[in-house]
Assembly symmetry: C2
Homo-oligomer: 311 residues x 2
């Protein structure tokens, strides 16, 4: 089976390693900190537990036998079809790492950064093989939300993007293509639009944190767990998507006109958020909530698979 | 048990009738079109089928015995604790209906409009008992997404809003309070922010409809089905919500600066959406998709209840 290189094995890198290994790829892992491999062994057990909720047949020993830890940069690059970089979110570090990866990677190896805000045109600015460099940004938590958005830079070869998308799909990721470089890609642009509006509503005194959370989780979010915005609009009026937008366009445009302020996120406001949030959820039970979140995501994904979704 | 008046028994009104009757209220229903009651009997069977997925113990005969159809306006108003208006989304019609309801309603009856975009200050402009008039806007489809956002107008008594919220909560709705009148309330403002951004991304050529839908349904939406925006941010960085916003604020603010254009929703663009969407889902299987949507929503709600959510 094809070889994948993993560069940096923190939480994101570990999740990529398990995702690819679970799909049958041979995974070679490099990390500059030796301790990361000790952490990886604990982390991977936990991640596999979560995945097991979705797929009880997951084969832990197969996954482990497909992963080779503690490789050199050269070893993860040679003959890999793709190297996935997930080091610290720091432009200068990523630039240096990409120069190294490009130096050792074989001619046809794709080099992908997991970065969410650092665009590949910047990261690969001084890289010789710019044409094979991409952003491939996962969602959180990546082991149970196998989503990736692939974006090329100004110098990326369009065939590289197509090939990368097909590799991620082979590894069972919901892989989408971002056609032009844009800060936030698709995922964070959608998320940011919602988040800024949630803060405008809260800071403007229109509703409480609790009530805004309820509107998302007990109303909008239940549909959004299995239908996208265009699919939903298509079902919202008898004649389909054009009918829906024609009925609602005036209202939606009015909202766009008002939703254009930039929240300040001042120290004072963020302190208030923290104090109010700690009244809702005390810090010592926050970790339990993270585990419950992962379990819930896994159970919804299981439900989607049972109902015929392919992801 | 307390009496609820239902004015207008289309899909929204029917859903309110069943929701209140299922919670044990005595429901009196008026509609100006006699045929609506024939349709109601068919519709209610279907709605109850969906609710049964969430709660197999739902008692159809109890619901039916709690609903009195074909009442006069006077009958639904007398001694009701709340009258829920769900007639056509037309300001002049709603104004006339509210004058009628106010004329017949008992002193302590709350009069609520299901309207999503017509604000209560306008609807009740010429109503004597303005202080007891509110917007109480449900989510779609309301029988399986029991959410309502309650908003008062400039003349609404704040105690009326509190009382209304407590009535909806007694009827097992996730009821939130909108503190100031604002077009779109909370639900449609959040939804509109996301929808406008989805269209900016699509119309701007950044991603396909299919890929934008995937980003929502296979990544963001799975979390949003059980966590609100503030709860999610609280879990996204080790120290909590302030830590999260501090890390991401620059990126989120950059997005807000860019996400301020007003999509035109031109005839040409909407035609293109319709053509492309029909290639993805042909019109003759659209109804099946609506039924699958309802089933999926019901199953996710069941899962949430099983995992300890109260709604």
């Amino acid at each position: 089976m094809d070889k994948i290189g993993i560069c940096g094995v923190g939480l994101i890198g570990a999740s990529w390693a398990i995702g690819f290994a679970n799909a049958g790829f041979k995974v070679f892992v490099y990390d500059s900190h030796k301790e990361s491999f000790i952490t990886f062994k604990e982390t991977s057990k936990k991640l596999i537990q979560d995945i097991r909720i979705i797929n009880p047949a997951i084969d832990e020993s197969k996954i482990n036998s497909n992963i080779k830890l503690d490789c050199t940069v050269q070893e993860i690059c040679e003959d890999a079809i793709l190297v996935q970089e997930s080091v610290l979110e720091d432009l200068e570090i990523k630039k240096r790492v990409f120069e190294q990866l490009d130096k050792f990677a074989s001619k046809n190896t794709i080099i992908a950064s997991s970065s969410s805000y650092l665009l590949i045109s910047k990261i690969s600015e001084f890289v010789k093989g710019k044409h094979r460099c991409i952003n491939a940004h996962p969602a959180l938590p990546p082991h149970i939300v196998p989503f990736v958005e692939v974006a090329g830079g100004i110098d990326t070869d369009s065939n590289i993007i197509k090939k990368a998308v097909s590799i991620y799909k082979m590894a069972k990721y919901a892989a989408i293509t971002v056609n032009k470089e844009t800060e936030g890609f698709v995922l964070n642009r959608l998320q940011g639009a919602l988040l800024n509006e949630a803060v405008r509503l809260h800071e403007g005194g229109f509703a409480s944190m609790e009530d805004i959370d309820i509107a998302l989780k007990h109303a909008l979010g239940i549909r959004w767990a299995f239908l996208g915005p265009f699919e939903i609009m298509d079902l919202n009026a008898p004649e389909g998507i054009k009918d829906s937008f024609t009925r609602y366009k005036k209202g939606i445009q009015n909202l766009a006109r008002e939703q254009n302020s930039v929240p300040g996120y001042s120290e004072e406001y963020l302190n208030k958020l923290e104090i109010d949030q700690r009244k809702r959820l005390s810090y010592d039970v926050r970790n339990e909530r993270v585990e419950k979140r992962n379990k819930m995501i896994a159970l919804i994904r299981k439900l989607k698979l049972e109902l015929g979704e392919d992801i």
